[in-house]
């Protein structure tokens, strides 16, 4: 079968066929520089400010789903087969203002206006999914949108009032859903896509087996899933990434399911894709999950990528290690499974051979005697990188701790278990003194760094205090709240 050499997608109303799309070409540059769609802005080029927010609609098993994403770090090649919606396409065909736009005007939701198109896009996506949101839901939806002028209050007022201006049923994306689904289906030809110049090649495998094959053929290729980190390699560090193998279009890599005594998360599942399953079976992760980046990044970034990337400050490894997660790596048709903590060898070094890729994550479901917590400390509560992250899991039987898995991020060169602190817990009674001893022991486990996110002293003291918080929260005799309530 011959390869396809163009990227095909629908931009607003029109089909686009883009040839010679280099791996590192961003969607934002394509929109602004080639299509002169200047409503989408560049604010930071790192997926933090949301001024570049666009909607990407993709066909899933559940149908056509639109999600807000950051066009600045989204690669053009990755929108193959998708519907890209920019702010220019939000108003009705006759130019009538959209309910979100009218509400933003009426509530004085814009001042300088530069962030406004991005806010409009995030609120548009929220309204499609939750027409009558609470303030808390609005805040969560806007974690990835910065405004420096308004202080947000008028934007929130507008967002909770949008439903008074119109319902999603009357929206043109809703009206065109079936037709758009058909148009997107028609773009699919089941072929591998290979495009771009030789030194910046973009490869979109036809399916997961083809992904394995592509990696065997090009073992040194950069694997691009959500691009929420690789995007910055390009926009911030000007690093070449070609040849790059894209995986974001592989729906089979995004499956999430409960299987008997564990959860199976496809490595390509975004944070959003696995949110509801995780919240259902591991409720302690629900508030934690909302604190991973902003909505746009959660719609793009994958759990597999968060792991494979090997960062010492990734949000998911500590909490998954504490739960005893395992990962399966694949090379060609060969697979191997290992405990997640063994994947992280050293700073920037993971146990992944050339040509191998993370295929899935297996998370055992806790037993009845297990107590679990997931904690994150960051300078700003939302959309921040953790200063310290902790996954804490212990089994308590007849008043005694029989098993402990305490994993921390931000405390060492890799996400790492606290062996001394675990030892201080195991075999000991569930008691304040036990956790004081574990907190003391934690100082033996880690020698954290000082940087702009926190000093070594703060990291250590707050990590120790997270053990104390864990005891207070899980202890039946303690009633006073031990942390700030989540929204």
């Amino acid at each position: 079968m011959t390869y396809r050499d163009d990227i095909r997608f629908i931009l607003n109303g029109r089909e686009v066929s883009a040839r010679d799309v280099g791996a590192s070409r961003t969607l934002l540059d394509f929109l602004r520089l080639e299509r002169r769609l200047t409503g989408t802005k560049e604010g930071c080029a790192e997926g933090d400010c949301g001024a570049c927010t666009v909607l990407v609609g993709r066909l899933t098993e559940a149908g056509l789903i639109y999600a807000p994403v950051n066009a600045c770090i989204r690669f053009l090649a990755s929108v193959d087969g998708c519907h890209v919606v920019t702010v220019e396409h939000v108003s009705g065909p006759e130019g009538a203002l959209h309910p979100v736009q009218q509400a933003m005007i009426d509530f004085h939701g814009s001042q300088c206006g530069f962030c406004t198109p991005g806010f409009v896009m995030s609120l548009y996506a929220l309204w499609m999914q939750t027409p009558e949101p609470t303030e808390a839901q609005v805040e969560t939806a806007l974690q990835g949108n910065l405004c420096r002028c308004t202080g947000y209050a008028p934007i929130i007022r507008a967002a909770v009032a949008v439903s008074r201006y119109g319902t999603p049923a009357a929206d043109h994306l809703t009206a065109e859903r079936e037709a758009m689904t058909a148009r997107l289906r028609a773009l699919r030809d089941g072929r591998r896509v290979v495009t771009g110049p030789d030194d910046n090649l973009a490869i979109l495998p036809a399916d997961v087996d083809d992904l394995a094959q592509c990696l065997v053929e090009t073992p040194g290729a950069t694997i691009v899933a959500g691009a929420t980190d690789v995007g910055l390699w390009v926009t911030k560090f000007l690093r070449p990434i070609g040849p790059a193998i894209f995986t974001g279009h592989l729906e089979a890599l995004k499956t999430v399911a409960r299987e008997a005594d564990h959860l199976l998360i496809g490595a390509g599942a975004s944070y959003t894709d696995c949110q509801s399953l995780l919240s259902q079976h591991l409720p302690h992760l629900a508030p934690y999950w909302d604190r991973i980046a902003g909505w746009q990044v959660r719609n793009m970034g994958t759990v597999g990528g968060n792991i494979a990337n090997g960062s010492p400050i990734g949000d998911t490894p500590p909490v998954l290690i504490a739960l005893g997660a395992e990962i399966t790596l694949r090379h060609g048709s060969e697979r191997r499974t290992l405990p997640l903590e063994r994947f992280f060898l050293d700073y920037g070094k993971q146990d992944r051979a050339a040509g191998e890729f993370v295929e899935s994550i297996r998370i055992p479901l806790p037993g009845a005697s297990d107590r679990n917590a997931a904690y994150k400390i960051s300078k700003r509560r939302d959309e921040d990188i953790s200063t310290v992250a902790a996954g804490l899991s212990v089994t308590v039987e007849r008043g005694r701790i029989t098993r402990a898995r305490l994993a921390f991020g931000g405390m060492a060169a890799t996400p790492k278990r606290a062996a001394q602190a675990e030892a201080a817990l195991i075999g000991q009674p569930w008691a304040h003194a036990t956790f004081e001893a574990a907190a003391e022991a934690l100082a033996e486990d880690f020698s954290p760094l000082s940087d702009w996110r926190g000093s070594a002293g703060y990291r250590m003291l707050s990590a120790q205090n997270l053990l104390r918080r864990f005891f207070l929260e899980q202890d039946a005799d303690t009633t006073a709240p031990a942390q700030l309530a989540t929204a």
Partner: protein, 773 residues
């Protein structure tokens, strides 16, 4: 003719921002959205990678070898004067020639066919330099014997030493107050199009088109009349585009003239944050003497600021810190001194409040010290020290406070926020809550309005009425989101009695109004609104004269009312009337002008009336902290703010809300962090954390003091609003402090430094607990 008896967009109405529809549809054009002429080139800056060094030379051969690179610009290519110092001190080169003065300092520019090529090529320079020792902060700079970047200021009244000696209680302390990045969503950008002869047009995101014009002329070595600077709108400014655009405008213009093609320069966010200035950090040493009731008797303070390598606006910024070191309080004996320190960091600049907020923080710290020392509610200490009647109404700069409304304003807020009862509840809550602790604080602000550089307090406007009755409005102010254009258009609509929509708001350009001042110091509406009104009144006077002549009526019989003109018994539509005036050869265009009265300032003596009037406000904030991690949340904020008789309450409220959040961010999560090599490591939103929607207070009640009216003859008796409410964020800082103090039973002032990050809160909790144990 319209039947309605009122106009849209009258003064004092809640008219929408004039660009609101364009904002929400993405059709508002910013500089980067302007269609580019064919062949437009792109420039990018190459920067230093050391904080301080002797510069021997640049080897740019590798840069020039990159395909698509058209050329480079270095100091040697500057045709005029290699200086962009806004105060003419000649201490800020476009590109340095012999010394690198901070990490990230622009050393040259690459010009290429695309921005991407230019950006990549800029990395390939070989910089020949010998590193020198560096000093990054004002304390290190003083220890290293670094000079002041500009002359310090001393404000003195009474006898400090005698006052302190006589005071029953004295406290000495130090507070470090961090800087702040502007984090305007639209970064710096300039786009230059060469013209014939010396001419060049520069589209630029700037709060100060006239300065950009003068700097471009200065750097090009051409008269100002050869340079046009245009700005329709900015995506935020906050002071960051008052002088910092000079570099970009100059580079774009130089390149455009050198290659004869349009040139755009837009740094990425990281370069924007590292290569342009920020709010000044301060280290403030204070000593306060007070009596047993908490009444202040004497205050001494030294305000050392991290100014960076050049003076930029550090002189007036550090001056304004001293002007506001009293906040709302009378100091019977006082001596305040500034130390504008040179440091090997980017040159700090204007930022909303312009040094004032740092001064206010120092004042509030002294109030806190007194409250903890005397065991009082800090609000009682505040009230006991407010400016009062004769004998207690002189500022440290000898201006009489004539318009103080804080007694009423604070009392009203105290009541509406239920401050006393909530404080009692919080004290009880803290006693029973081991981990979570709450704090509450009600803080006032008094902010002086006018540029302290007196000559800046002037403005011009240009109003045309076309013969179809449509109106063209232009003035010297710039729109950065604050709604200045909307308010000025309201003034014009009101004066002509025509609908707002009849008025076309046009880009700010140095071609129409010359020699303008920066849109800064909260003065935009005060100055430009008056200038526009002056233009309208000139045209109206001619129209009235014409009507009297034509219809043979006395002037009193000519009235402009709701899109009509009433002349005796005749009623004409505005359009028809204008048409008649045109045919009668009435001049339908006028240049307006305004200068602020009453103000004067003798800096050498430290005496005068630098401010036309004061704006006031107060905020009450409640927070909860987690004493295990230092994390916190703002539970509730109530604000009562004075904007005089508001020209547009909706826009003014937006300014108040936004300023509060920005002020809160400054004092909480926004931390600038340099490593030992002098490299700023918090240089993009991934590392520099401004507030998010979820950081705003859980309950947020914002009101304007609608009973207030400016006692001075300002535009429609309104007051400036841009900067004063920024300082309302201090209430959050003070509330955090109270929550921390609870762990040592409120016996010790926690002496939090700013920003009070979760780390600083936890470490202060830890320190106080150890001290109390």
């Amino acid at each position: 003719m319209k039947d309605t008896l009122t106009i849209t967009g009258a003064a004092h109405s809640d008219h929408n921002h004039d660009s609101a529809v364009k904002h929400v549809t993405g059709r508002a054009n910013y500089t980067d959205d302007i269609a580019m002429p064919e062949g437009t080139l792109h420039a990018y800056l190459g920067v230093s990678h050391v904080a301080h060094a002797t510069l021997h030379g640049l080897d740019l051969s590798e840069v020039l070898a990159v395909p698509g690179v058209v050329g480079v610009l270095t100091a040697a290519d500057v045709p005029g004067v290699n200086d962009i110092s806004p105060t003419g001190r000649n201490d800020e080169p476009v590109f340095p020639t012999d010394r690198i003065q901070f990490h990230g300092q622009p050393l040259f520019a690459v010009v290429a066919e695309t921005r991407d090529i230019a950006r990549r090529a800029a990395e390939r320079a070989c910089i020949d330099c010998t590193p020198l020792p560096h000093a990054l902060d004002p304390v290190a700079a003083q220890e290293a014997g670094y000079p002041h970047v500009t002359a310090p200021l001393k404000l003195e009244r009474g006898d400090l030493d005698a006052g302190l000696a006589a005071a029953k209680n004295r406290i000495k302390g130090r507070i470090t107050v961090g800087g702040q990045d502007h984090m305007y969503l639209e970064g710096h950008i300039a786009f230059a199009i060469p013209g014939e002869d010396d001419d060049v047009i520069v589209h630029c995101s700037t709060q100060h088109p006239s300065e950009a014009q003068h700097m471009v002329a200065h750097v090009l070595g051409v008269p100002s009349n050869a340079v046009v600077v245009n700005v329709r709108r900015m995506g935020g400014g906050f002071g960051g585009k008052e002088s910092q655009m000079n570099l970009f405008a100059a580079v774009a213009a130089m390149a455009a003239k050198k290659w004869g093609q349009a040139v755009k320069i837009r740094p990425d966010r990281d370069q924007d944050m590292t290569a342009t200035g920020k709010r000044h950090d301060f280290v403030i040493d204070y000593e306060v003497g007070f009596d047993d009731t908490g009444r202040i008797e004497a205050v001494g303070g030294t305000f050392a600021a991290r100014c960076g390598f050049s003076s930029d606006l550090s002189g007036p910024v550090t001056d304004r810190a001293l002007f506001h070191a009293d906040n709302a309080y009378f100091y019977p004996n006082v001596r305040l001194t500034s130390r504008p320190m040179k440091t090997n960091t980017v040159s700090n600049t204007a930022f909303r409040g312009f040094g004032g907020p740092q001064g206010v923080v120092a004042a509030e710290r002294m109030i806190e010290e007194i409250a903890y020392a005397t065991g009082q509610d800090p609000l009682d200490v505040r009230k006991a020290n407010f400016y009062g009647n004769e004998g207690r109404d002189l500022t440290p700069y000898h201006q009489q406070v004539e318009d103080n409304i804080l007694d009423r304003l604070v009392s009203e807020l105290e009541e509406s926020a239920d401050y006393r009862a909530r404080r009692t509840e919080i004290l009880a809550y803290n006693a029973g809550s081991p981990v979570l602790k709450k704090g509450i604080a009600l803080t006032p602000v008094k902010f002086g309005i006018s540029f302290t550089a007196t000559w800046y307090n002037q403005a011009g406007a240009l109003v045309h009425v076309y013969n179809d009755g449509s109106i063209h409005l232009n003035h010297g102010g710039t729109e950065m989101g604050q709604g200045l254009n909307t308010k000025v258009a309201q003034v014009v609509a009101e004066a002509f009695q025509v609908d707002f929509e009849r008025i076309k708001i046009t880009k700010t350009t140095t071609e129409k109004v010359p020699n303008t001042s920066a849109t800064a110091a909260s003065s935009g509406t005060d100055l430009n609104g008056m200038a526009a009104l002056n233009a309208v009144e000139q045209i109206k006077a001619r129209l009235v004269e014409f009507a009297c002549d034509r219809w043979a009526v006395p002037p009193g019989a000519v009235r402009f009312e709701a899109n009509r003109v009433l002349i005796g018994d005749e009623v004409l539509s505005f359009d028809a009337f204008i048409r008649q005036a045109y045919l009668a050869r009435v001049q339908l265009s006028a240049a307006g002008f305004y200068k602020t009265p009453k103000i004067h300032w003798d800096r050498d003596k430290g005496q005068g009336r630098p401010f036309y009037y004061y704006a006031y406000g107060a905020a009450c904030s409640e927070v909860t902290i987690d004493t295990l991690t230092g994390e916190y949340r703002v539970e509730r904020t109530d604000i009562l703010h004075d904007v005089g008789r508001s020209l547009n309450p909706a826009l003014d409220k937006g300014q108040v809300e936004g300023a509060f959040i920005q002020g809160m961010g400054w004092l909480t999560t926004e931390e600038l962090w340099w490593d030992d090599a002098g490299r700023l490591r918090t240089h993009a939103p991934s590392t520099y954390k401004i507030p998010l929607a979820s950081d705003r207070p859980r309950v947020f009640n914002v009101n304007l003091a609608d009973w207030s009216e400016n006692r001075e003859l300002t535009i429609k008796r309104s007051k400036a609003v841009g900067e004063p409410p920024f300082m309302l964020g201090i209430s959050v800082f003070e509330a955090l402090s109270m929550a921390v103090a609870s762990v040592a039973d409120y016996r010790e002032c926690p002496r939090l430094d700013a920003p009070a990050t979760p780390e600083r809160v936890l470490m202060a909790v830890d320190r106080l607990r150890r001290g109390a144990a």
